[in-house]
């Protein structure tokens, strides 16, 4: 029984191929302009990594998630990314009860029960502050080569600056002013990370936060954001080895369940 999950977001497309709950292969690539092309390519790459010389047609079941899930004709079923992230995180870490997922353009807080079912959730509204996009904009302003480099720099800070968490554009203006005032770049980067943690914490305020807490999404690779989240929430956040593909993994697991149910 070979199944796949595909998660096509605004920034990146991810795919996971599963066989009897064992991950055979996965892939991540930028979504770009053509969503369907990105989906086809990421699926092909995941199949290639799995060592399978087949197309998506050869799979037994495919579940699509992410914003573009409705436009993928090869998917057998669509499920929201919130459900998929909960499924994927709980599969890897069965003690998961609370998940923070920060992707390119949205962030989510999810509460799950011991079975991994979603019991409460919150998502950001109308704003890029608190998402990967916020970090990308700040990396550009702060002349850091990549978002990945920002985390370690943030951890070197001794006095994080106060940066607005209300609006990405306003925060950018603040950074320019603070830079001109001679603030240490590491303190500015730390301030940016703290701003994200404030934003996410506010979003999650109505959710029951309890351990084990898991951090997923591309931004989970950023050690600085993780540190500030842990300070803000007062708990350790576990980060899966490949946090960016958790949604796709969850989708693949749901594909497996769906197939079993039908048989």
């Amino acid at each position: 029984m070979r199944v796949a999950g595909i998660d096509v977001g605004a920034a990146t497309a991810k795919a996971v191929v599963l066989e009897n709950s064992r991950m055979l292969g996965s892939a991540v690539r930028p979504t770009g302009y053509d969503v369907k092309l990105a989906a086809d390519r990421v699926m092909s790459e995941a199949l290639e990594e799995a060592g399978l010389s087949m197309t998506a047609d050869g799979l037994d079941y495919i579940v699509a998630t992410g914003y573009a899930r409705g436009s993928l004709s090869f998917a057998d079923k669509t499920v929201t990314e919130i459900i998929c992230h909960a499924k994927g995180a709980h599969f890897l870490i069965p003690t998961t009860r609370f998940i923070i997922d920060i992707g390119g353009q949205d962030s989510k807080a999810i509460e799950v029960d011991p079975e991994g079912d979603v019991v409460n959730f919150a998502m950001n509204d109308k704003c890029a502050a608190g998402t990967g996009r916020f970090l990308e904009v700040m990396a550009h302003v702060l002349e850091v080569e990549s978002v990945a480099q920002m985390g370690p720099l943030a951890l070197e800070s001794t006095a994080p600056c106060n940066i607005s968490s209300v609006c990405t554009v306003f925060a950018e203006t603040e950074i320019v002013v603070l830079r001109a005032e001679g603030k240490d770049r590491r303190d500015l980067i730390a301030g940016v990370h703290r701003a994200i943690s404030l934003r996410v914490a506010a979003m999650a305020s109505g959710i029951c936060v309890k351990p084990d807490a898991v951090f997923t999404g591309g931004v989970a690779k950023n050690t600085g954001v993780r540190k500030f989240l842990e300070e803000r929430f007062g708990m350790t956040f576990l980060v899966p080895e490949e946090p960016q593909i958790i949604g796709a993994l969850g989708a693949a697991l749901i594909a497996q369940e769906e197939l079993k149910r039908r048989r």
Partner: protein, 468 residues
């Protein structure tokens, strides 16, 4: 001679004889509204796709709105004096004015425009943009309903009124926006200062000081209306207006009662359209609405008997705080995720917790004030939570979707505590959604779909683990 709009009007329940009789008025009104032959395909498709026009009652409902729209647009041409009230409003003074003189038209033009130019023509954007260009700019967290009122007036679509009944009873922007209307168009205002902040735990009781103050405010507004409009408010105007409104309310209660069925027999979009007539019209819209309900009730009864509905049998049932006032796609999106929506908060007021009137008040203003206090419709947070609790019982709900506009302080401020308290008091899941209920330009369908689909999935999973 046929008009370009005949097909659309038939789709909206107009008889051919009505079209013929009203043709000159229809054409005049449509010209003023910038509705032309080019808009007909869009409107016909929009109505067919998003409204249950297989039911004659729904077609008559759409026609009721169009008739109200035509009457609003042509009120000055018809020689009427015009009073605009805002939404949400204390309806009582408007109803009394309307019952006292057939030469005065009392209406909520913003509601009329959003429910017709939005729900029927999908052409609300130019009106919103005109509102933005005339004192309520975009990006300033200003209410789109007020943008509609000012935009419609600025474009000459709706006449400048003779009087504005300004109430910040619930909406703290209301009377300030009417100040803007005065600044722009020179309209006199009768202010009614609100007393909405009932204390936690107060409702269903209410403080006599609240009734007296609000009553005095209403009496003052009625006096101003008499002076400005040159009319006399009849001593029995309140009683007469209630007698006129009673059939509407009684029929609406029957409709809401039918929504207890599983599957839910009709989309909540149509029921909200029906209820909104009573919050917007004191004239033809109300009478036509009664006619529509008298047709719709037996049609819905047939569906209930046959087990036909717009949801699957056994689908999770949720109360939606409010459907969308101008864009039916938004409300339909909730239903398309597989949720049954038998009620909104607005409809819940008819079956909700009520206080018994004490009978201690005798001036028209105090009688209206007590009526408002006793149904707690726009009271403090806890009164609303009580409504929701009662709704959960009456409608056998599995969850709630509370909606709030980030720029509407009375609603946005309580959205998070409301979720918390409702979850604690009912044990049911609550999804809190941020959405502009009058302007769908700034909403992301995908973001909304993701949240509602996830909530639907949660409720279905919960139901399957705990079957009734």
């Amino acid at each position: 001679m046929a008009g370009y709009y005949d097909e659309l009007l038939r789709l909206c329940g107009f008889e051919d004889s009505e079209i013929e009789e009203e043709r000159p008025r229809i054409e005049k009104a449509f010209e003023r509204l910038d509705i032309s032959a080019a808009d007909m395909d869009t409107a016909e498709n929009w109505v067919t796709q998003h409204h249950d026009v297989s039911l004659r009652g729904v077609r008559l409902l759409l026609g009721a709105w169009l008739k109200e729209l035509i009457d609003v647009v042509l009120a000055k041409d018809d020689g009427k004096k015009i009073v605009y009230f805002g939404f949400p409003a204390i309806l009582g003074p408007g109803l009394m004015i309307s019952a006292s003189s057939k030469d005065v038209m009392v209406t909520a033009p913003d509601m009329v425009l959003s429910h017709t130019m939005g729900h029927i023509f999908n052409k609300l954007t130019p009106i919103l943009e005109a509102g933005e260009a005339n004192g309520l700019p975009a990006g300033h967290a200003l209410c789109s309903l007020w943008q509609i009122k000012i935009g419609g007036t600025a474009k000459g679509m709706i006449p400048v009124p003779d009087l504005a009944l300004a109430s910040s009873y619930y909406c703290d922007m209301g009377s300030k926006a009417d100040d803007l209307v005065t600044a722009l168009f020179g309209v006199p205002i009768a202010y009614i200062d609100g007393v909405m902040d009932s204390h936690w735990g107060e409702f269903p009781d209410y403080l006599p000081e609240r009734v007296r103050y609000l009553g005095a405010q209403i009496n003052q507004a009625l006096k101003k209306a008499e002076e400005v409009l040159g009319i006399e408010i009849a001593p029995d105007a309140w009683e007469r207006s209630q007698n006129e409104a009673r059939p509407f309310r009684e029929n609406l209660v029957k409709l809401v009662d039918l929504m207890k069925a599983d599957p839910v027999p009709i989309s909540i979009t149509e029921l909200e359209l029906m209820e909104a007539l009573s919050s917007s019209s004191t004239g033809r819209g109300i009478h036509q609405g009664i006619r529509a309900m008298q047709t719709l009730i037996p049609e819905m009864e047939e569906r209930v008997k046959a087990g036909i509905g717009v949801s699957e049998k056994g689908a999770p049932r949720v109360m939606l705080r409010a459907g969308h006032a101008s864009d039916p796609r938004v409300t339909r999106l909730v239903e398309e995720t597989g949720l049954a929506v038998p009620l909104t908060y607005i409809l819940g007021s008819w079956g909700g917790v009520k206080a018994e009137p004490k009978g201690e008040y005798h001036t028209p203003g105090e009688i209206i004030a007590e009526y408002e206090m006793s149904n707690g419709y726009y009271h403090g947070t806890e009164a609303q939570i009580k409504f929701y609790e009662r709704a959960a019982e009456l409608m056998k709900l599995d969850g709630f979707i509370t909606t709030y506009l980030y720029n509407c302080r009375p609603v946005a401020t309580i959205s998070h505590p409301q979720k918390k308290y409702l979850e604690e008091r009912t044990g049911l899941p609550v999804l809190s959604l941020e959405i502009d209920g009058f302007d769908s330009r700034a909403y992301s369908a995908e973001s909304l779909r993701t949240k509602v689909e996830t909530f639907a999935h949660m409720l279905k999973s919960r139901k399957s683990k705990n079957p009734a």
